[in-house]
Amino acid sequence: MTTDGTGMACKALAVVGWLLCTAAATAADRVPVPGGEFTPVIAPGPNAKTVTIASFDLDRRPVTNAEFLSFVRASPQWRRDRIPALLADQSYLAHWSGPQTLGPSAEPEQPVTHVSWFAARAYCAAQNARLPTWYEWEYTAAADGTHRDARQDPAWRERILGWYAVSAARKVPPVGQGAPNVYGIQDLHGVVWEWVEDFGGLMVSGDSRTQGDPDKLQFCGAGALSTDNREDYPILMRVAFLSSLEARFTTSSLGFRCAAGNTP
């Protein structure tokens, strides 16, 4: 509730309080996530079901347009008119009105979107942080307001699926409006998709056992998707989406947040 309060206060004090609120939000931005044993929706390997997540810190909210603008101003090589094509496609920051201007289609408190994996990574590195790994993201996103692992709860599932049903049509909401989960982290569901450090490892066709059969997906195809775990569906949607990306891709619903500790 304190975070919601901050958001409200920021709105109420739109002009005078803006700097203060931004500073407060930034200072409290990253929160500790205690580690633990976790069963990801996609088995980590043959004959393995669980992974051990070490304790780490994760941003309370996705990175906003305002925050990314500060980064681009400080590191102009990441401006949309200067970034090499290797590191971002043509729609990189395309919703901003200029290379260093947000404009009407990019509100300061909306999560930044139209960012590539390379750019997201560079932003986090500039904050002495990194992107979370997929397992870290999945582990944290399994929580609701009271449980670390709410995946068996139909309400948790329905909320996420409800967002999937509307996300393409509506405007991206500002960050910080979602209910905090048990760690105090917001907006893991319901706002944007998020880059993870190892998005390139999510759905890999097995190199050795499927040689000559490139369409066979070693993990997702052979393992998780053949199960009847309907409750895994919201997360499998994420996996499918992330695995379809290339590191230079940018889209209107893909943002990120940073993590720290336990550098992978």
Partner: protein, 205 residues
């Protein structure tokens, strides 16, 4: 941590010296490589826009951008891999063998390990020896974990480490032109690959 200014490529290229040069590295070559064009003159699509460094099996520090100047055939692998990686190596050697001696001298072959933890330079040196790669043209390299991820991402190599420390990875061979722009890719790991060879020869013209 990882991605810094693309400008730093130029600095890295100088620091990297000629470690990966087609000749055996000697200090006297360093000044030659300092003359290489700065990163800003590289095309935006060039892999060398990544400010990533490699450490070769011969113990040399190789800035990615220092590979500019000749076509490069590049793949990612790991040395303890007993299935696909030997085929990758063999296929790259097949490309090498198909070139005539003059062409061969002008192509660099680069294998970058996905296994940042275990593929130390000495391990990679053993791999190079085992596969009889020609050290004057081949770079078998290790990179920091963050650099491995960015290079793999830029090349489109998808990979994942399994609990037993092995990797599942796409078996992909990429041809970079002399400025680092990917111009051909292949996933064919056995037999003739006329399309890739044609692209390789074209990149030498």
């Amino acid at each position: 941590m990882i991605i810094r200014l693309p400008m730093s490529i130029a600095a890295a290229a100088i620091l990297g010296g000629c470690a990966a040069g087609p000749q055996a590295p000697t200090p006297s070559h360093n000044h030659v490589h300092q003359m290489e064009p700065p990163a800003t003159s590289l095309p935006g699509e060039s892999l060398y826009q990544l400010p990533a460094d490699l450490d070769s099996a011969t113990g040399d520090h190789v800035a990615l951008a220092s590979l500019a100047g000749t076509p490069v055939v590049v793949a990612m692998f790991y040395s303890s891999c007993t299935t696909v990686c030997p085929m990758l190596t063999l296929q790259m050697q097949r490309f090498e063998a198909a070139l005539d001696p003059v062409e061969r001298f002008r192509v660099r072959f680069v294998m970058i390990s996905l296994d940042a933890e275990r593929d130390t330079p000495s391990k990679l040196a053993a791999f190079a020896a085992e596969h009889h790669v020609d050290a004057s043209r081949w770079v078998i390299a290790h990179a920091a974990p963050a650099n491995v991820r960015s290079i793999a991402a830029a090349l489109g190599v998808r990979y994942r480490q399994l609990p037993d420390k092995s990797f599942s990875h796409s078996a992909l061979i990429t041809l970079l032109d002399s400025r680092g722009v990917p111009v051909a890719r292949t996933q064919l790991l056995a037999g003739d690959d006329p399309a890739f060879m044609a692209a390789l020869r074209a990149s030498l013209r």
